[in-house]
Symmetry: none
Subunit: 172 residues, 4 copies
């Protein structure tokens, strides 16, 4: 990731990774099928450590915590750079795309599913939208800002989403 930050993903080469690691090219090829997989392993480990799904007593609280933790991650410039590169590579190389989905995207969806399932069990979850759409909205906005607008993920956005997806009980 240090090297990626220095030269950018486009300038990253297997040859360069090997040289920086003080290692033969073959050793890289022995363990990872492409430079994207090298980064994926680094990125996945890093992301996994972060976002927790501790119980905050309510869907609203859980969702807000999840969003805040996720946004914090997405706002780390170095990690965001890696995520952009991985998502790009996933479009260009179908097989890597499958691995990326399995190792990263699906795991993040599963983490969110823990929260929505808990809410459903608690009777806390609105009828609509269903869990899948919630995930599409939550992750869609994150990725859209990371990939397309490159604007930071703000607390205001989190407020808006919590307001939409887990409306306060009172006003009803």
């Amino acid at each position: 990731m240090t090297l990626a930050a220095e030269v950018g993903y486009a300038g990253l080469t297997i040859e360069g990774i090997a040289a920086r690691a003080g290692v033969g090219k073959q050793t890289i090829y022995r363990w990872w099928p492409s430079k994207a997989d090298v980064l994926l392993e680094a990125g996945a480990v890093k992301a996994d450590r972060y976002v927790s799904v501790t119980d905050h007593g309510s869907y609203r609280g859980d969702l807000r915590a999840f969003l805040e933790a996720s946004y914090e991650l997405g706002n780390l410039p170095q990690l965001a750079e890696v995520l952009r590169a991985l998502m790009a590579e996933a479009q260009l190389d179908t097989e890597f795309g499958d691995r990326f989905r399995a190792a990263f995207l699906d795991r993040r969806r599963d983490a969110l599913a823990v929260i929505t399932s808990r809410a459903r069990d608690r009777g806390d979850l609105p009828d609509r939208p269903d869990m899948a759409t919630v995930a599409d909205i939550v992750f869609g906005t994150i990725w859209y800002r990371v990939l397309a607008t490159r604007e930071p993920l703000t607390a205001g956005l989190a407020d808006d989403l919590v307001g939409l997806l887990a409306p306060a009980e009172g006003p009803r």
Copy 2:
């Protein structure tokens, strides 16, 4: 686009494009700075023709029409493939990213802004979320499905979004 469909974007080369066009490489370089820009010109033209922003009398109606038209586009396999490639390239090549944003992404946001502005003028627009967040949600979900889950953009998703962003007046 025919060639891109045959060999995939990853397999696309300027050399190949020139050969297919029966043209010297230099001629391609004379007119476009990269292979992505060649596709961008093809893709942008195509997408512009589609989505209209005709007035349907209500924010709800306008939004539903916009979503349906956009989803239809995003569900065209060949166009989706090109969009995936362009978004990928935009991550790898910053300068192309700027051109892509200007020539495509911002224009789609502008189209949606026509609708939300009209709703605001009409007094039809909910207080929250604001126009920018609406755009993030609308385009975020589209791109997320195109890039990440690769699932089709369904009428159900449109229903959910319309329900959230432009709730029916009645039940309130």
Copy 3:
């Protein structure tokens, strides 16, 4: 040939040749199928320039002149080194062997054949051995010294061969 002299044929690489020539690898591959062919072209040109087949009036005189010129060539350390490498490569790569035979070995035999044919026409050529065997002996001894014993090709050897293959008329 300068580079070959510096690093030895075993240390010669296409990569190195290209670098020394200030040229891309592909340019070497475009014109020669292997590093041996590069050297062959240089060596063949060099060798062709040397050995003449001028008429000296007698088979004895022609043969002695041919041997002396050939030995002089074979005693040039740099050229001998190249010839060793080419003969070696010819054993390892059959296809190069064919090219080597056509471009070098056969041409040297043809040069000698000019001399023996002239002698035959003149009635100067002994009955035995025939022209083919003469060539085998002449070139065999040269190559054997170059490849196997690495001893210089001396005037004494030339004396011996001339004595055997073109005996003086007198003593008969």
Copy 4:
């Protein structure tokens, strides 16, 4: 030698030899410094067994027997292939060249020297050419045919050489 016959000397690797022998690479390296030395050991053993230097009563007879035995060996396709490879390797790797000379080439010269020495003691040896040149001619023609023309070593060639080097007494 079986493996060498299958893949050719160029395709022979230490890795392959070890695999075929069901042995670790290190074990090969422990006993031989290169793949050529492995073959040399096999080849030298084989060639030593053949050519004898039994006394046939005359230089002429001894020489003819030596040539015939040597030619028979050189006409064995599999052995010739190995000899070609060893001679090639000797050109590329100087250190192996020294070992090859000592273990093979010099021993064959020594064998011929037994014959010429015997002839000299017997007063049977012509004044010219001397023993060294005889060896150069005998082995030169063999190697030249094996390496360069790849033509078989025929009885006719033996006749020519015997006629030149050990002329019949009568006609004088």
